[in-house]
């Protein structure tokens, strides 16, 4: 076990492992204080109090979507990650025969700075690119580019579904970017699989484009490429290991690390992050628009998709790109957008799987009025993902009243023995 940005991490997993066969988060029974926070924040019920002491445990990988909300909300740092590929990334960066490709998600750049003392929400995209280059990545490609591509694919798919809804491509269309949500549908609502957009997530697209189009454009042997997905998310580790994601003829994503692991690597390499000069991403698969960067927040994928759908359906330019009707950071938000020459486009945005469940039940009952629904597992979206920098106030307990809890626990245990 290694500690990285206040979270304990176990080692790497074989790259051909079935990611459905284990849970990516686990509870350290020694550290668990049975406070029940994780049980409350888990919206599937995968983590539950067990035994006489009521300590928490992830029951079964089948029930867990690996979102890691339990981990980021644990006041005692008792929840650890099962898989870390940091050692593999350091090894690949040292190997002269390996071409390392970076693929950071939009939300990473709004939390990474916190690990270096910058205020929450500071955009550190340029510094992040510079740090990746200093670490030794050859191609600084960026998942924001494929967020734009996702809009083209998922938006076009939506327009096709609106024009010709069918049994295998029905309405409403659900977004498919969030890996916790996708696994939730596969396990809890398999009858809604046809409603999920068939578009891969942005990282699924970047992995396959890097080793085909990117390799072609840069004259690089794709077999030598090592693609590193850098995510605000633990569930992306599950997604990266999905056997079907090998469209390039290789593993599309070689390994996945989190925002925390990237911060750990930058510190370990002795890079003075705060004083780095902004660096742009590399061409071909790096350039992005504002529509891509908002993917990291609840409502962002919807807004980005509407900026395309409006223009395609109406044949007119969208003058005011701020579609504030779909901006939200909790619960469910719905909106009806007037599109000239088309009519109303009905949309809903939800984060948190308890909210998602309400929308799923409506769709299942045939009562949904929506064309398009965006779901993110983590409350507020990826900016609050399970792989992000830990909120210091969550761990106040570690230094403060957890000592009181520990003392109470001890007395309770002694009483129980007596």
């Amino acid at each position: 076990m290694q500690e990285m940005e206040k979270v304990m991490m176990k080692g790497s997993a074989p790259l051909d492992v079935d990611p459905g066969s284990f849970s990516f988060v686990q509870v350290d029974q020694e550290k668990c204080q049975a406070c029940g926070t994780c049980v409350d924040v888990c919206k599937t019920g995968a983590i539950q109090a067990q035994g006489a002491e009521g300590k928490s445990k992830v029951l079964d990988p089948a029930a867990c979507v690996n979102c890691g909300q339990c981990l980021v909300n644990c006041p005692y740092g008792a929840i650890y990650e099962e898989v870390s590929y940091v050692d593999a990334v350091f090894a690949a960066l040292k190997d002269p025969n390996t071409v390392c490709v970076s693929m950071p998600a939009p939300a990473v750049r709004y939390a990474l700075g916190e690990a270096f003392g910058l205020p929450a929400g500071t955009h550190v995209g340029g510094k992040m690119h510079a740090a990746l280059r200093k670490l030794g990545f050859k191609f600084i490609w960026d998942n924001e580019f494929t967020a734009d591509v996702t809009i083209m694919e998922e938006g076009t798919e939506l327009i096709n579904r609106v024009k010709h809804p069918s049994h295998h491509a029905p309405l409403p269309q659900f977004t498919s970017c969030c890996p916790g949500w996708v696994k939730f549908v596969e396990a809890y609502y398999p009858e809604l699989i046809p409603n999920l957009s068939s578009a891969k997530s942005p990282i699924g697209m970047l992995g396959s484009l890097a080793k085909t189009y990117g390799a072609q454009q840069t004259k690089t042997d794709p077999a030598k490429m090592f693609t590193v997905s850098i995510m605000p998310c633990i569930a992306k580790k599950f997604e990266g290991l999905r056997p079907e994601l090998a469209a390039s003829g290789h593993r599309d994503t070689d390994v996945t690390i989190t925002t925390r692991e990237l911060a750990y690597m930058i510190k370990k390499a002795g890079i003075d992050f705060k004083n780095l000069k902004d660096d742009p991403a590399d061409p071909i698969l790096g350039e992005a628009t504002g529509a891509a960067t908002i993917f990291g927040t609840s409502g962002g994928v919807m807004e980005a998709a509407l900026r395309l759908a409006y223009e395609v359906l109406s044949g007119e330019k969208l003058k005011d790109v701020d579609i504030k009707a779909v901006r939200t950071h909790e619960g469910i938000k719905s909106a009806s957008i007037d599109v000239p020459h088309f009519g109303k486009v009905n949309v809903a945005v939800a984060s948190g799987l308890d909210n998602a469940k309400k929308l799923c039940d409506e769709v299942k009952a045939g009562k949904s009025k929506y064309h398009f629904i965006e779901i993110m597992t983590c409350p507020g979206g990826c900016i609050n993902g399970g792989g992000q920098i830990i909120n210091p106030s969550v761990r106040e307990a570690e230094n403060g009243h957890s000592k009181i809890f520990a003392a109470i626990n001890k007395r309770l245990a002694m009483k129980a023995q007596a």
Binding site: A62, E153, L308, L353, S393
Partner: protein
């Protein structure tokens, strides 16, 4: 006494935890607890404000619609890598996927009497 011993540690700590917070608010250091709580609620909105500010900042993103990205246009241009357009043949091969019904394992779990929230 025996009733007290039946209460689980989790239940006990929930009550004890609430008592600690109340004591702190009413006692010597009220600002500590409220500030920590506010910080927790604020973090998501601070990061979110950062996102929307960047989207609206032409120095960071000078274009705001995916279809206007010149590298996206190059990718889909006629004769280009995805020349048959979004949702075209090559897109279908590389950029679209299929999903797996994983409900059987969950049914087995529920059959064992395990209660889940969804």
């Amino acid at each position: 006494m025996s009733e007290q011993m039946n209460c689980t540690r989790r239940d006990f700590l929930k009550v004890a935890g609430a008592a600690v917070v109340v004591a702190a608010v009413a006692g010597a250091a009220p600002t500590l607890v409220t500030e920590a709580h506010a910080a927790e609620l604020d973090l998501v909105s601070q990061r979110q404000s950062g996102v929307y500010a960047a989207d609206a900042n032409p120095k960071l993103y000078n274009l705001r619609k995916s279809q206007d990205n010149p590298m996206v246009q190059k990718l889909y241009a006629k004769g280009g890598f995805l020349g048959d357009g979004p949702c075209g043949h090559v897109s279908h091969e590389l950029l679209h996927t299929h999903y797996v019904d994983r409900s059987a394992a969950l049914k087995a779990l529920k059959a064992k009497g395990i209660k889940l929230k969804a």
